[in-house]
């Protein structure tokens, strides 16, 4: 059993023990958890990302409105403890099926009926115990690929596997859901991390040996970054590697950047683990049209959802405080145009690399 796992194990058991001692004293057992709703999420200037506030809610078993949820929370915790004991992993859906059973022969009620009931309780446990679900042996979907000079030791299923991310050929190394437990980053030899929104562009840059030539770690989250992917970026940033993000020139792509940088509403409770406030944005920007004439001819119409998202982003204070970003967003709203990363292959396929090299060298970043 890995170290982190036993920490999670201790925390779960500690929760159980304090509840049992309440029951033995004749008090109603209680469960306290920070509130994860919008009203308790704020942008923290000091940290530079979205964090949970101090508001907490207490669930008590003898309250009829909370009794079922309380019982369910304990059931989820007990089940996770079992996974840790057995060193077995499952998805949150797998957990749901483990807990979907009738409460008794003569009771027409199930412990859980819908997965939508168990999902938020997992998040409650994560935040109440300051753990990630990955620490509870709950996997999330893997998404994202990495290539670069980085060696990892993966202790899994009683075996140790050495992974060299510079020797993964055309496909790269698939980022697992948990990059903490049973994972050791043995050797990271790179100057920076480049995050590329689209898999197609990652493949382009991989084929061009961009990461080898530039000595960087090349990551694609394949769209919005998964928890594991964000966690990996954060871990690399903690190793003092600058993080540079490259996305489409539209609100959707830019929001992928902002989620990596400041975290998101949904995962604000994990921000300390997954937000990378020092990340910088390299492009594509609307201003690029001034420097690269051909891009002006390769714009396409923005979708309605891009326009809507751009408007929302203008309302986020942590974005609106950057004049550069306000200009970019306003240009989108005005022109109703967008530029895809793929457009940089317009002049020639390898132009993407040239564009990045030039901009990174000149430090033409947006904050």
């Amino acid at each position: 059993m890995a170290k982190k796992s036993s920490e999670a194990f201790e925390k779960l058991e500690g929760l159980g023990r304090s509840m049992v001692s309440e029951v033995m004293k004749g008090d109603s057992p209680e469960f306290e958890t920070p509130i994860r709703s919008k009203g308790n999420i704020d942008y923290d200037e000091n940290f530079g990302y979205l964090r949970l506030g101090d508001k907490k809610e207490t669930r008590t078993f003898v309250n009829v409105g909370q009794a079922r949820k309380f019982m369910q929370t304990v059931a989820v915790a007990a089940k996770c403890k079992k996974f840790l004991e057995e060193d077995s992993h499952t998805s949150i859906r797998g957990l749901f099926y483990q807990l979907k059973f009738s409460l008794g022969e003569d009771v027409e009620e199930e412990l859980f009926t819908e997965q939508s009931e168990s999902n938020p309780l997992i998040e409650d446990l994560e935040v109440a115990l300051t753990l990630k679900r990955e620490d509870l042996n709950l996997n999330t979907d893997r998404k994202g690929v990495v290539a670069g000079k980085m060696k990892i030791i993966d202790k899994f299923g009683g075996e140790e596997t050495k992974i060299d991310c510079s020797k993964q050929g055309r496909s790269g190394w698939a980022i697992p859901s948990d990059v903490d437990n049973g994972m050791e980053f043995e050797d990271v030899d790179a100057d920076y991390v480049l995050v590329v929104e689209k898999d197609a562009l990652w493949q382009r840059l991989n084929e061009d040996k961009f990461w080898r030539k530039e000595n960087c770690i090349l990551i694609t989250p394949k769209g919005q970054a998964s928890r594991g992917c964000r966690r990996l970026i954060k871990k690399l940033a903690q190793k003092k590697l600058p993080v540079i993000v490259f996305t489409d020139c539209d609100a959707w792509g830019w929001y992928i950047y902002w989620a990596i940088k400041t975290g998101s509403m949904n995962l604000a409770y994990l921000a300390d683990d997954i937000a990378t406030p020092q990340a910088k944005f390299v492009g594509v920007t609307m201003r690029d049209i001034q420097d690269y004439d051909f891009l002006g001819k390769l714009t396409i119409n923005a979708k309605e959802i891009d326009i809507k998202r751009a408007q929302e982003m203008l309302d986020y204070p942590w974005i609106a405080r950057h004049k550069e970003w306000v200009d970019e967003l306003k240009t989108v709203l005005k022109t109703k145009k967008k530029i895809e990363q793929d457009a940089l292959q317009g002049p020639r396929l390898s132009f993407v690399g040239e564009y990045l090299r030039e901009k990174i060298k000149a430090k033409k970043f947006l904050p």
Binding site: E13, M19, V20, V23, S28, F61, V62, M71, A75
Partner: protein
């Protein structure tokens, strides 16, 4: 009131003295033409009216005689749709020479000219039934009576419509210990109905307001019903009082004057009205300078009487006595409700007498019965909220639309008392209007006039009961809610105990389960006491406060 002549208490030991005050009126012809006005309108109503007249007479007679009433009513069908109605009581009976006048002469009863609180008031009743039998089947009414002196008298009775004189035929005298009266008549243009206007409902309501009576009934379909006695004491006797000048109408004044033997109007007024002193006569004299107040009362003209009533209204009077009011009483109503409706909960109000028209004393008794046999059973078998109306214990079944009791209950905002759907609740609102002079809206005596003071007082009396029932209902609702909550939590105890044992890695699931059950039981009980004590005392205080405010406003 001591020293006043107004309260001539009448304590009758024998039947003879009851009937010595007969007066005669020739109104038989009038009845024939106006039978609808007298309650003989509609077939169901006619039958209920017949039973009502006989039963009311029996109850009044028993009360005066100090007897606990036992009344048997039987209805059978003959000749297709003719009904034979037979009513027997154990009252004081009627002396043979008075039978004709009592049952065969309109407005000849003992009640018309006496100002006291009784069920019937106009003496048109039993004679009206005799007349009704006569004009619908051509048959006489058979009467059997004994006063308990070893002699029994029987006869067939009709009315001479032209002269309003009773005709007694087939008279028979025999020996026997029978005391009371049996009246049996055959009627057509009537219908036996089991609904809310029928005889059964009428008798049930009568029993509710007369818990000292035992009433049995047998219907034409053989159905039998006994309403047993709930109280073993005869209600206190009604007391005769003189009318107060403020409560008199022109019509009544003229009637009284024309029947007076006094030589002068001045003495007529002083002899027949309460609170009329020589000083008031002098005041009246100066108020009506062109009126000869010393002429015989027989010569009083309508216009003059009208003017006199107006003058009464301008003068200052000593308030009338309320001694003559005879309510059923809170305890008696409670016993009656339990006896007949067996409700889950009931509230019976007690209120002080009030006056209407500036001078007529009255009192409202209200009660609400909830659950059990309360409410009305509708044709489709469901239950509906019911309002049952009484005037001096006599049920009012008809003409509900124009009645003050209905108006008053309709104006209540039931929602305020958590009874918004009054129409589908198992509850009975009971209202008895008590007065020496009930202001009926017609000779059918089925609706009380919508006068403001009366409406207001009825509404207050009923609302008082509403508040009480509301508290009870809320308590019940809370209890049920708590029970449901407890059950809901208990369902989770077993699973939680198992998971807690597993999660903590210590303790046995069984022990934890016991602890959790005790916890839920304990918290739950504590919850009730705290909540209910707080809420109920809070609400009761609020309700009391509201009631006090209302009373404060109302009585000034």
């Amino acid at each position: 009131m001591g020293g006043d002549r107004e309260a001539k208490g009448i304590f009758m030991a024998s039947a003879d003295s009851i009937f010595k005050e007969f007066r005669e009126h020739s109104v038989a012809e009038f009845f024939r033409k106006n039978r609808q006005m007298l309650g003989f309108a509609g077939k169901t109503r006619s039958l209920t009216t017949i039973v009502h007249e006989y039963v009311t007479n029996s109850l009044d007679a028993c009360e005066e005689g100090g007897i606990l009433p036992e009344i048997d009513v039987k209805i059978s069908l003959v000749n297709g749709d003719h009904c034979i109605v037979r009513v027997q009581d154990n009252g004081p009976g009627i002396p043979p020479k008075m039978v004709g006048k009592a049952l065969g002469m309109m407005l000849a009863g003992t009640k018309f000219h006496r100002y006291m609180q009784q069920r019937g008031q106009q003496g048109i009743g039993a004679a009206g039934c005799t007349m009704f039998s006569q004009i619908t089947t051509g048959k006489p009414v058979h009467v059997k009576t004994g006063t308990g002196n070893g002699k029994v008298y029987e006869c067939d009775l009709t009315v001479d419509v032209k002269t309003n004189k009773p005709v007694q035929q087939n008279e028979r005298n025999s020996d026997g210990e029978f005391r009371g009266i049996v009246v049996e008549g055959e009627f057509a243009e009537v219908k036996y109905d089991k609904g809310e206007y029928g005889v059964m409902e009428y008798l049930k309501r009568t029993a509710l307001a007369n818990p000292h009576a035992q009433i049995s009934f047998e219907g034409p379909d053989g159905e039998k019903q006994l309403f047993p006695r709930a109280v073993n004491s005869v209600p206190p006797k009604a007391v005769e009082v003189l009318p107060h000048p403020l409560g008199i109408t022109t019509n009544e004044l003229v009637e009284m004057a024309h029947h007076s033997e006094e030589r002068k109007i001045t003495s007529f007024l002083q002899q027949n009205f309460a609170r009329v002193s020589p000083a008031r006569i002098d005041e009246l004299r100066s108020a009506m300078p062109n009126f000869d107040i010393d002429k015989p009362p027989r010569e009083l003209k309508w216009g003059e009487a009208e003017e006199m009533v107006k003058a009464f209204g301008q003068m200052k009077w000593i308030a009338p006595s309320t001694d003559a009011l005879r309510p059923i009483g809170k305890e008696q109503i409670e016993k009656a409700l339990v006896n007949i409706l067996n409700p889950q909960y009931m509230s019976v109000g007690e209120r002080r007498p009030k006056v209407f028209r500036g001078g007529v004393p009255f009192m409202v008794e209200a009660a609400i019965a909830y659950g059990g046999g309360s409410g009305r059973r509708t044709a489709d078998g469901s239950v509906a909220g019911d309002v049952i109306r009484y005037a001096n214990r006599a049920p009012l079944l008809f003409d509900a639309g124009g009645c003050a009791i209905n108006e008053a209950t309709k104006s209540i905002e039931w929602g305020r008392y958590d009874m918004r759907d009054f129409d589908s609740l198992p509850m009975t609102v009971f209202v008895n209007f008590v007065s020496v002079h009930v202001p009926y809206t017609g000779a059918g005596k089925q609706a009380i006039s919508n006068e403001e003071e009366i409406l207001d007082e009825i509404k207050r009396a009923v609302m008082e009961c509403c508040r009480d029932v509301q508290l009870h209902l809320r308590g019940k609702a809370r209890e049920g809610e708590r029970d449901a909550k407890k059950k809901a939590i208990m369902r989770y105890v077993e699973q939680l105990a198992r998971d807690l044992a597993e999660l903590s890695g210590k303790g046995k699931a069984e022990d934890l389960q016991k602890k959790l059950i005790a916890l839920v039981e304990g918290k739950y009980k504590k919850h009730i006491e705290e909540a209910s004590l707080e809420e109920i005392s809070g609400e009761a205080a609020a309700a009391k406060h509201a009631a006090e405010n209302e009373n404060g406003n109302g009585e000034e």
